[in-house]
Amino acid sequence: MLDIKLVEIGYFLSRCGIEQPPKKLNCSNWKDAYKCFYKKLHNGKTEKEFNNSLKNIRDHFDSYLRNSRRGWHDNNGNPDKLPEQYLFILNYLEKLDDDSLWEYIKPYAILSTNDLYWKFDLSTFRLLGRELITDRITALVELVKNSYDANAKNVYLEFSNTLSNKESKLIIRDDGFGMSFNDIRDKWMTIGTDSKRINKFTPKPFSRRVVGEKGIGRFAIDKLGLNCKIYSKIKSEKRLNLLSINWQEYETNVTTNEFNQVKNKLKSKFFDKRCSGVKIEIRHLHSIWTKEDIDRAYKELSKLVSPFNQLYPPFNIFISSSDYENYKYLTLVKNDSIKYSTESFEIKSDIEKNIQEIVVFDKDKLVKRNKEIFNFGPIKFNLYYFNQSAKSQFTKGTKLNIEQQIDGIKIYRDGVLTTPFAENESHQDKKRDVLGIDKRRYSGFFDRLSSRDIIGIVEITKDFSPNIIDSTNRQNFLETADYNELKDFIISQVHELEKYLKYKKKISTDILDDDLQEAKNNLENFTGEIQGLKKDIESKSNINVEQKLKELEKKAIDASIAIKKGIKQHQQERDESEQKEKMFMSLMSLQTYALEITHIIKTSLGHIKRRAEFNHDYYDDSDFKEDIKVYNEEIIYEIDKLSKAIEFMSTYTRSEKNWQPFNIQDAIHGVFRSYQPIFAKNIIRTEIDIQNNIIIDYNIYLFEDIIKNLMNNSIKALEKIKNDKLIKITGYIEEDALILTFSDNGIGIPKKLKEKIYDIYYTTTSEDGGNGMGLYMVKTNLEAIKGSIELISSELDMGATFKIIFPFKKDKNEE
């Protein structure tokens, strides 16, 4: 049966399209033109059948309407007679002009033209765009991953005028294979039909493992800016596609929940150059990109490709920003952090022989052993350790921020960094330590490495480690059995390195001991000789005393040199550690602290004054009835706090002698001893684990006060605990700071109070011990010396753990 609608369309195709399909359809070939109608009219036909019947109808009309294209002809060479139904249709469609005809046909077509709709619903968009891409850096990385997947050799990220809202612009362009018009329509704007899932590798000779599996990169654009233009060109087409998106329109359409009804403008124009690639131009960036942001982007991008898997063909990332001198010109993003390391090892695996290398510390060195491949799959693991001098070498060589560069162990899958790939925390301590390298340190072992000392690169493959899976927010891995085993394995390997480093430290001490032993022997020898000489003189034996004395003098000089050498070496060793301590000293003058207190008091007086003034001015204003009550209470509370602050100040400012260097282990033991009766009464167990040789130049009273305040809080938190009660303090030096962690296994602190506990207004009970200023004073205290206190996740099952950082003054001139 002939479908009338098909005939109508055939007429339209024939009349409005000659060599090219009708312009209205915006298709470059006939196949695509037929496709526009297939969805609505296929009536069970396959695409091929459908196309054939349309072509047939078109041919009929072509031969009837003109001679330029040979359609159907009869034996005499005249156009074939049109079937009756065709004539019937021709009769009424002929009367329409081109535009009216198009209006008539339009409802049958699904257009691949100017107005494109996203092929998914709003909720999907929000989930993917807003929740999976958590920050701007992640967004950038996702877009660069797309370039990688497109076989780009070079990606350029160009920021300009990011300090101004109106002129800010970010261009991301690459020389990859680009997207055709159909790609944009059918792939880029459609979720779930991701071609990347089918093709795991990109076309040869690149054969890259596809990394942007979820196809969410495109939504990253939304995270970056308001307006976006995407230019795209593929090699085989002579056209340049331009898609414009204005996200603001989506926002305004949110209420109607018809996201996919918002038009996107897709244009395509003739462009005769055999090049390919994608250029994404984002304007009206959502926020300012500071120098630090660009640095962070650089850093995260540098981690995208493992420094050990040099790609061929290459994949280069360039970054520039018009706002900053350092980034004025396009800068190649490199990852060459590893060449400065002090110690390193590499372990590999061999899939065919079922061998996984591991390292083991054996007596005096690290050795490799072969094992069978673990459940989590074969891995390659490079670990680099940086000691203090290596770190300063590193800083000199790279001019990069060391703390940002040396940041622990990362996992690469098929040569590309995987979770967590773009941390947006600028604060090192808050960074997610996925493998838990730093967490181990809270348990107080000083010979354990921190993520700041090592760079590790673990390489896995998707095929052999299928159960190492990224979590959906891409900030962690799923806790599968394989992942846990991998994590344990990596930590065990780090531990082998730790054992080796500990051994090396011991060796250098032993050598010193040997030197001193030799000096001691020399001395004994010398004493013996003198004794002998003495006897000789006494017995007046006929020996040339002068000669013997000369020999002795020579020996004495030798011995003296040996002893001096020994002493010097010992002194040097001690000086080194003492120097270290001195370098770590931080002297905050009383004056500085007084200023801090003055500041607090003035701020507090301002609080009181404004409240009093308010109550005075508006006491009969019915608008403010409730406020006045609250303010009255706050005034009383604030005044109480003020008097406590003054009391607190006077108790320790009396004696100048509190300001001198002290050993922190002694100080902490002292405080714990003074609490002994309370511990005994409440049956609280304590653990103190403090590095012995730490001397700091600070006020011992202020230091003790910090410990006491934390102690009081812990004792309170332990009151209602029935089982084993524990308070634990550890102290160690990390880089240029003393780190104390203070833990208890008490009732803990609810998450919502995490920030509130430092508030001067915050109190649990009125009868708390110590100086009553609590954590507010501790925090102020620490801030005055550029330190900090933070409630970190507890090492114990319950309770609270505080991490306190006392930074050391690096530059002696710095005040």
């Binding site: 809202n165 003055t598 701020t603 301002g606 609080h607």
Partner: protein, 201 residues
Amino acid sequence: MKNNTEIIIIDDVLKEDDPLIKVLRKKSEYKEIKLFSHSQDGLNYILMNLEKDFIVLLDIDFPGEKNGNQILYELRKENKLIPVIIWSAMDGSTGYDFTSFINNHALYYVKKDTSIKEIIFRIDAAYHYLQLDVASAINRWLLLQEDKKQILSVDSAGTKYSAEDLITEIRKQTSEGRKIEKEIIELTIDLLFREKVVMND
């Protein structure tokens, strides 16, 4: 509504329920009162919305963040017109150096323990300053222009300036911006006095 000006308070200690904010919101006629606890957030907001009228109340001490000094310096790089009132517990007795605040055109200084009335008095004064300041007035006029790309001025070297360009010159108080300002003042005075002569006839 008296005016379109937003009051931006950048202070890490102040809370939303402070009497100052309450009084400003209920008893004054400023369009909006915005409080930022993080100095960078406040600065970003201002820089991203330079087309709005602002009066800024800026604290100095932000532990671990950019201090008031740095914030003012960075703001002034982009805009020299916004009135900024320094509000701080720091004063001469704490040995704090205020030189850079003055050099970066802070309008007033009020102490942390100043009364609400005094603070509002200063804010109102800043508002009047904003209204009477010639550069701010030109800036407002330029912002009203519909076509900001249209060439409004050509200097002796032949450089063309659109409304958009002029806004930048005026805000940053470049030599060109100041020159235009000066010319407008001279022209205005000239016109006013000419009018007077005519009116007196």
